[in-house]
């Protein structure tokens, strides 16, 4: 039975952590970390979990703690945000190349310059090539549900990759909304015990972790990581289906919202998908054939599936909450547009960079994008593909 509650995104993820009761949490206990370790520390202090809670002097060390713990055979977690993730950078690659299924709860926020604490996806998108699985949530419910699915995905023997579950800073992390929580017994049995086949301290068959990878071996290790990321796709779908069968809330690579017969569509990630949903509903009520595709899984990128989902559209707008300074568009745009390249009648595609540093994205903004897509369909002219929305000129 689900439990009706109201929680912020941070509270929801901390509660999932409590229900799972992992072995080790490495956490930098102050800003730029999130409220997640703060709430979790209360569970530790109250004896509600028996997790070894390691407070460290930096995010570099919190990821190092997780790597050490995971290498030793423990289930290790951490949580961070923004420049905290940036400080972990070096270790993100160590975790993924060592094939350690660490779970990181990321609250996505801008990277500084100018100084800013608000939401965008700069941190997560910056880490997109680090070899981590990345799941994104639209709201507190999805942040909670994704967290419960994270370990069954990342710890699967066919995968063994670290995983990042991402929710939007403040918009989701600090907003209180209704949520359906699951019983702890269900969560524990769904997530299961972590039983790695090999680990550093396994006395009958100890595993070497973090050796030097000389040139004759390095590339094989990387190819193995790449293959694991491909295999993760199947596991993500299996876990999402199993979770849905138990809770009624099904998860795939992305959500197609009113995409059947849609002429135009927006493609985006995170909390603004909820805002786009309202825009789609309003325009559908006027008889306009519009839809929305919300990307949940960015790594591995569901290349063929996204292309297929968009194949019936005439024009699509891909929205990026991160600026990658390619001078040609953001990361979601680059990959989505590339995915559509092999379609026979590929839709026209434009990019909108939006919502940087907490800039609000409104229903009206999304409606304007649909108007501009209609214009592209009518004229057949795409015009400038790399656009920004919401900023003053």
């Amino acid at each position: 039975m689900s439990i009706r509650e109201r929680l912020s995104g941070n509270e929801a993820v901390a509660y999932a952590m409590k229900q799972i009761n992992p072995d080790v949490m490495g956490a930098f206990p102050i800003t730029p970390s999130t409220e997640i370790p703060q709430y979790f520390a209360q569970y530790v202090a109250n004896g509600e979990v028996d997790t070894e809670f390691v407070t460290v002097e930096s995010e570099h060390s919190s990821m190092s703690t997780c790597i050490g713990a995971a290498a030793a055979g423990a289930r290790a977690i951490t949580a961070t945000s923004s420049c905290g993730l940036a400080l972990m950078w070096e270790l993100l690659y160590v975790a993924s190349s060592s094939r350690l299924p660490i779970t990181l709860a990321l609250v996505t926020r801008a990277l500084t310059g100018p100084i800013n604490i608000n939401n965008d996806h700069s941190d997560a998108m910056g880490a997109r090539d680090a070899g981590w699985i990345q799941l994104f949530a639209e709201n507190n419910q999805e942040a909670y549900d994704n967290y419960i699915q994270a370990m069954p995905i990342s710890e699967n023997p066919d995968v063994r990759l670290p995983i990042m579950t991402c929710q939007d800073g403040f918009i989701t992390s600090h907003a209180v909304e209704n949520i359906e929580l699951e019983e702890t017994d269900f969560v524990r049995s769904f997530v299961g015990e972590y039983q790695p086949e090999n680990y550093l301290l396994k006395h009958e068959n100890p595993l070497a972790v973090g050796p030097y990878g000389i040139s004759p071996y390095y590339m094989e290790a990387k190819k193995a990581q790449a293959e694991a990321m491909k295999r993760a796709k199947k596991v993500i779908l299996e876990v999402g289906k199993k979770f849905g069968d138990a809770t009624g809330r099904y998860y795939g690579f992305f959500e197609s919202y009113r995409m059947e017969d849609a002429d135009t569509a927006v493609v985006l990630i995170g909390s603004s998908a909820g805002t786009a949903r309202a825009a789609v509903d309003a325009l559908r009520a006027q008889g306009r054939r519009v839809g929305m595709l919300k990307v949940r899984v960015f790594r591995p990128f569901p290349f063929d599936e996204i292309a297929q989902a968009l194949s019936g559209c005439k024009a699509v707008a891909i929205l990026d909450k991160a600026e990658s300074f390619s001078a040609a568009g953001g990361p979601l745009f680059a990959e989505t547009r590339s995915a559509m390249y092999d379609l026979e009648n590929r839709p026209k595609a434009v990019n909108y960079v939006y919502g940087l540093g907490g800039r609000d994205f409104r229903v009206e903004d999304c409606t304007r994008i649909f108007d501009e897509l209609d214009n592209i369909v009518e004229t057949g002219e795409t015009g400038e593909v790399y656009r920004h929305i919401g900023q003053r000129e």
Binding site: R6, I117, N118, E138, N139, D168, F170, I171, T172, H174, A175, V176, E177, N178, S271, S272, G274, T275, R277, A278, G358, D360, F361, R362, V363
Partner: protein, 192 residues
């Protein structure tokens, strides 16, 4: 969004506007509603203007932007009227609720022609009389519930007792005072 009541809170850092916003979400949730309660974050410091928002409805509201056309505005610090356009976008069918010892007519004169209801409550005096200190957010919460009607008053009072017991778990002696503040504020709010 249809059937969604949208509320905007204006306060100053340290006055508890965010807490009041989250308590209102709590109260509405307990009465069976779908709620959103969220502050607008920035480089907070004591005394700086802050804004917080509520959406309350019978179905889940998926919009995650700020609120630009609220049905109700709650002003926790009346000095903000001089520096913030507090009635911006405010629904003329709705109301503004201001913490002030002055009358609704006096406040209306400063609101740039807002035609909806103007409500006042002397949150500071009530708080100081009952709690011995200036905590304006509890009276403002009560006034917001009374004026907006988003929660039935009796249900609200019953729910808040539980919320306060949870919130003040380490200092239960303040629960009774806060409950008195709630009921007194619901009686004293003036609608003009």
């Amino acid at each position: 969004m249809e059937n969604t009541v949208e509320i905007r809170w204006h306060g100053r850092g340290g006055q508890g506007a965010k807490t009041a916003c989250l308590l209102l979400a709590d109260a509405a949730f307990s009465s069976g509603k779908y709620v959103q309660g969220f502050p607008e974050y920035g480089p907070e410091r004591m005394g700086a203007p802050i804004t917080a928002y509520n959406r309350i409805s019978d179905t889940r509201c998926t919009v995650h932007s700020n609120i630009y056309d609220p049905d109700y505005v709650v002003v926790v610090d009346e000095s903000l009227i001089a520096s913030v356009d507090v009635t911006k976008g405010l629904n003329p069918e709705g109301a503004i609720i201001v913490n002030t010892p002055r009358t609704p007519a006096e406040i209306r004169a400063e609101l740039g022609g807002y035609t909806g209801r103007v409500c006042t409550i002397d949150a500071r005096r009530i708080s100081e009389e009952v709690l011995g200190n200036n905590f304006p957010n509890t009276p403002m919460l009560a006034a917001a519930v009374k004026v907006s009607g988003v929660v039935e008053p009796e249900q609200f009072i019953a729910n808040m007792e539980a919320s306060f017991r949870h919130k003040f778990a380490t200092k239960p002696q303040v629960v009774a005072g806060n409950m008195t503040v709630l009921t007194q504020s619901m009686q004293e709010v003036q609608v003009g």
